[in-house]
Symmetry: C2
Subunit: 222 residues, 2 copies
DNA sequence: GTCTATAATCAGATAGAC
DNA sequence: GTCTATCTGATTATAGAC
């Protein structure tokens, strides 16, 4: 920390002090702890992540964490909340980038791209979510299962629209279909290695598999 | 334990004692500990599974476990080894139940059914494997990643045959396709609840999705 | 082979000075 | 807001009697 920045802060006239400075120091520390927690949870899982690891990564002390969070559980809860928020907004953004008249198939394809991008991104929050979900206390799991189900509403709407447009065959179960698709996408975190194929190429393959299957090309029924 | 059974054992003439009784007592205890470990790992994950939980379920003492296994790690390693063995033999069995002249598509469909059955079965070993894999020590993970890749050989062969028969379009990447399919199947453990649909019905949907996609029915290209 | 201590660690949480 | 010191509880692993 330079003397300049410190003295500049001191020099600011009290009377004019802004009510909402861009980032308060405590906010910044809290954010650093959360980032560190997501980082550590992603790499070590929930049980093996020690508060001391998080503190170290956040450049603070284990005991200082308790100034910002009530408990270890409170930290993980906040990390998961943020992760869900990010995932939903990513998928929503991908969908709304489509033009107004886009078909259901086009919007689902866009959503698939968005979902793959967030799952396979470098985002510690969403990666941590995938990794630790089934290690966290049951109470938390139940809570976030509800959140997850709410977020699935986007997909349900998309699928309903697709069926109405005839883009999904009338005799398949939409719930199972949605869960199979989400599994296909979520599991990719287990095997994806950057390099051979890009995330968008994988998303293309998945979208094509989803609508047309892996079988040989066929003509639309007359 | 009844007096009858104890005295019956005593009464067996020494001279005639069989060299290889069906199950030695120590073997039985060892097996009980492993079953208990799979049971507990499946339900609590790796980190939260205490040796005392396993001991309790196996109706023995925590310290007695050390007579059979060198460490906690040795137990989990054996559980995973058994799980892999079971999965491979299940899928292989499903494939070989197909008649000799079966098409690649028929054999892949059979394999999909076999894989769903093992993943969604009540088998504690394979369920534990899914649940704890990314919580175990890195050394173990590396080892079993190799085993997993060996087992994937079955699928690779199946896919190669399908391509040769024209059952898989020529321009899709077989590795990505295989991984997407496995993800679709493996993730099902996260959402499957017995009741609404049977395992075989889900497998049917998945196989159809895999070959034909979710889109409306289409006619083979001329 | 099994049981009763008990050692050895380790990590989450708290108290209180600064 | 942050730091040092410490408490507390839990869990793997071992020693040694039976």
């Amino acid at each position: 920390m330079s003397i300049d920045s410190a003295s500049a802060r001191e020099a600011r006239p009290r009377a004019a002090k802004p009510k909402k400075p861009p980032i308060k120091k405590s906010e910044a520390t809290r954010a650093r702890i959360l980032d560190a927690a997501a980082y550590v949870f992603r790499r070590k899982g929930y049980a093996h992540a020690r508060l001391s690891d998080i503190a170290k990564k956040a450049r603070t002390q284990t005991s200082s964490i308790y100034y910002y969070f009530e408990s270890r559980e409170a930290i993980v809860s906040e990390v998961l909340r943020i992760a869900n928020e990010k995932t939903a907004s990513y998928v929503n953004a991908a969908i709304s980038e489509q033009p107004v008249g886009a078909t259901a198939r086009e919007r689902i394809t866009a959503a698939i791209h968005g979902h793959f991008r967030i799952v396979l991104s470098d985002n510690d929050y969403t990666s941590a979510h995938m990794r630790i979900f089934d290690q966290i206390p049951e109470k938390l799991q139940e809570h976030f299962l509800k959140v997850l189900d709410q977020n699935a509403g986007i997909w349900r709407d998309l699928f309903d629209a697709a069926r109405a447009e005839g883009a999904i065959a009338p005799d398949v179960d939409l719930s199972v279909l949605r869960l199979l698709l989400l599994g296909m996408m979520n599991w990719s975190i287990e095997w994806f290695k950057p390099g051979r194929m890009s995330v968008d190429q994988i998303a293309d393959q998945a979208a094509r598999l989803f609508f047309d299957g892996a079988g040989p090309p066929r003509a639309p029924a007359p």
